[in-house]
Symmetry: C2
């Protein structure tokens, strides 16, 4: 076999089942290896940001990496923004990037770039394959790193792809997780012993089902409140699961939300920081005098650490000081009349089926959605962890391919969705069940809110030109149709409800332009 | 004034007239400064690759930089592929990237990335502003660097944008060009003295009108042939200008084209290298035993160097050994019947008006266009210097804004155009006269050619899935309509001719889907 075949054989043996690709000349041997291999699906994205966003969605749902196949530096660069989101979400991702032949690289051909330099900005692990015979082990190591919730990027010169190679299914040398630091676990237990008003801030894998069950047990043992990061990569919700509040977006709201706690345990979560540093100077959301402890820092497995914490807490005498606040939100009712952001959220909340996966990138329109839905049937929410817009439409592809039996609802804003609009074509080609709520407020609304917050009441022509999406209005029904995705436009809650029901019922993708 | 206002004042004083922007919260003070300033136009791109590609087109035509305003690391990353093309084309570009407030940066907020690391992959000059009072000089230096045909990137923390600042219009410390190395000029002259069969390979500014007039004079003095790089950033052509052959794309053709020359002068051009390194091992197109000399290497001004060379040649006794081969191509006739790539090129060549700017990214469809058009009325061709697809539709925006009185013809392939399809919206909003020939062969045809070259006659299902653009077919008429660009679909040469004439006649953008 050749190096490309050895690479793909190794990837399959490490559990890789899907490859999101936009290949070029330097990746054709890998395309041919995928072509001949059983056990790996190939999905074309018409832009690399679609591929990397889809891999992010797939990894968030399945907990294991998809492979991205990307063309040299420019192809990788096009995928960086969504890899940034994946990195912040703690998503496992395995990138394979073709490189010029080793003997050709030095001639600095037109497409040559510093791929390692680009990769380092988002990858926890980057390697340029140095010998074709190392390819199986390079792949095994990359996948192992990725499985720890990280981005691993392997750069493979074209001549190494073509070289004769023995293949093999080596065990990785790199480990997914480091050993849990028991002193961290002890400190976490002490935090609960010492303080009455406590909260646990959950992030990344702690927000998946297993983590939430651990969190609920810790809550039972300590009476702590449970919170999630502002934009968790993935959070399981609904009946049977503890209700987890999210930290508000604007820093003054976040500070106010968290100020009452004496002690905070951060489990798989980073210390919360303001999204932006506004004049006034809030970076850290927590105060110095609030006690903090951490579980699952660095490369540790937060789930294992939570399990160990539970063992300690069970053997301690401390009784919990707080009553668990049982939120019992009802099923929200259906609104009617002309739509506004609140009614859009209410309509979706009223209709979303059990098992739905909500890819949330509605930004200013979807802000109210989360608080409406805690009491619904079980569902999963993905959000924009890295803040780089254009994650949602691709992410929905990966989610749908990871969970083909679950309905995916892609809750999108027009400005964000336009970043990776090409994703609609892949949704159509794959025939996956994605219902897109395309909230067309025809503006970068968040920027208008920011201008207001900065005291600018009436921006001039040029500021409006850079924040409005009018002149011309984007016709999302036509655009979706051009990509092969059926679509309708709605303006009232009743129309939206009918359209959501249609989208959920019909197989394949469907787009609802919600004119706000 | 504040830092943002000082930045914009300085930019305008350095000659910046246009800003392509997709701003976020960290750039809002700059948006407001642009809003209040006279003398700088703001153009919104719905994706950063549109902005950077438009700046590339603007810089290629005007010879001076546009400003890009980009949002943090992810926004810059989205613009990298087209900055890579601009870098390879030698286009002047001035990027301004917002950064988190200095006091907030260390908290590693969600959108934080290594912007300097990203910038270094494409910029010749990157600076993070270290004090608001330095902003005017930082801008002056960046613009000066850019004017030398390079990319200069200035990263500006949000608090520096808001800080009180004196402003000013400082002289740059950085220089556009280094002094010309006279020993290079002498060696160039000696090359022509010593060898009979010579060629001059022109690149970058040597392919603009002034450079071409110098080249014609050198040709008259030496009898050398004139050649251009395979994908020149910009080349002026047509009646009154010397006919410049382009080096073929595939390396074996390029070697054969250049093998007969004993001596080659590279003026503003890099030594030609194969686009890709195929098995067989051609990297360098020129042989060791072919004499080479260089003009305008590094940061030198190739035009000044060509002028000095002419002075030396005029004072020498050497007579030219070759007759200038006068190509006298006729005006190509109009084809008829169903379209194929050759007929598309013939139809365009037959109809393109004087002064047309052709943005060529038709790839396999436009391959025959160049050789048909040397004898036409004066026109300008831009091509894909860096090989990163998705450059054309944005580049056409910048070209049209730089030259509002000239018709722009955007000669596009479906696979490439889809990369930055959002550009159509900006074309509609600006109402610029761009006629897009969208060649829909519904495949990454170049990859199919590469597979054939590699001996793979019948790729399997997955390889076809990754190289075909069918299932569903993309409906470009609907997509263009969704962005506010009127469009028609054609299948015959007569229909194409009618559509081209309509597109050229009507103001504003127009798209012709050419089904191949």
């Amino acid at each position: 076999m050749n190096g490309a075949q050895a690479l793909i054989e190794s990837a399959i043996s490490q559990g890789i089942e899907i490859c999101f690709a936009n290949a070029g000349t330097t990746e054709l041997p890998i395309v041919m290896a995928i072509d001949k291999a059983a056990g790996i699906k190939a999905v074309l994205g018409l832009f690399e940001g679609v591929c990397t966003g889809a891999a992010d969605g797939y990894g968030r749902l399945s907990g294991k990496p998809a492979m991205n196949l990307l063309h040299l530096g420019p192809g990788f660069a096009n995928g960086i923004a969504n890899l940034h989101n994946a990195r912040r979400a703690g998503t496992p991702v395995f990138n394979v990037i073709g490189e010029h032949a080793t003997w050709h690289r030095g001639s600095d051909p037109p497409l040559a770039m510093d791929i390692e330099g680009l990769s380092a900005t988002v990858s926890s692990w980057t390697r340029t394959n140095s010998s074709p015979s190392d390819l199986p082990l390079d792949v095994a190591n990359a996948v192992s790193i990725a499985l720890g919730g990280r981005i691993a990027s392997l750069i493979v010169p074209h001549d190494h792809q073509l070289a004769l190679c023995k293949g093999g299914r080596p065990k990785p040398v790199e480990r997914c997780f480091d050993t849990v630091d028991e002193s961290e676990v002890k400190k976490a237990a002490e935090l609960f012993m010492r303080h009455d008003r406590t909260a646990m801030l959950l992030g990344q894998r702690a927000l998946r089902k297993e983590g939430l069950m651990y969190a609920a047990e810790i809550q039972d043992l300590t009476g702590c409140n449970l919170l999630a990061e502002t934009f968790p990569g993935i959070i399981e919700r609904g009946a049977g699961l503890p209700d987890i509040g999210r930290i508000p977006y604007f820093p003054e709201h976040a500070v106010s939300r968290l100020s009452g706690y004496e002690g905070i345990l951060l489990a798989g979560a980073r210390e919360p920081m303001a999204f932006f540093g506004y004049p006034g100077g809030i970076s850290r959301i927590l105060r110095e005098d609030q006690a903090k402890a951490f579980l699952g820092t660095g490369r540790q497995d937060v789930l294992e650490a939570m399990g160990l914490l539970i063992d300690i807490l069970k053997s301690s005498k401390k009784k919990r000081q707080q009553e668990r606040k049982a939120d019992a939100p009802g099923h929200p009712g259906m609104p009617d009349g002309d739509l506004d952001p609140v009614k859009v959220c209410q309509t979706l909340a009223a209709l979303q089926p059990e098992g739905a996966i909500i890819v949330e990138e509605g930004l200013t329109t979807s802000m109210g959605y989360y608080s409406l839905t805690a009491g619904l049937a079980p569902h999963t929410i993905l959000s924009i962890s890295g803040g780089a817009i254009g994650y949602g439409m691709p992410c929905a592809i990966g989610a749908a391919l990871a969970c083909p039996d679950r309905p995916v609802i892609s809750f999108q804003a027009d400005g964000s969705a336009m970043y990776t609009v090409q994703a609609l074509w892949t949704q159509a080609r794959e025939g996956i069940n994605i219902t897109t709520l395309l909230c067309a407020n025809r503006a970068y609304k968040i920027l208008k809110m920011e201008l207001e917050r900065a005291g600018i009441k009436s921006p001039g022509i040029k500021a409006r030109a850079l924040t409005d999406l009018i002149g011309p209005d984007i016709d999302w029904v036509k655009i979706a149709g051009g990509f092969g995705v059926p679509a309708v436009s709605v303006t009232t809650a009743q129309e939206l409800a009918r359209a959501i029901n249609r989208g959920l019922l019909e197989p394949g993708p469907f787009l609802i332009e919600i004119v706000l």
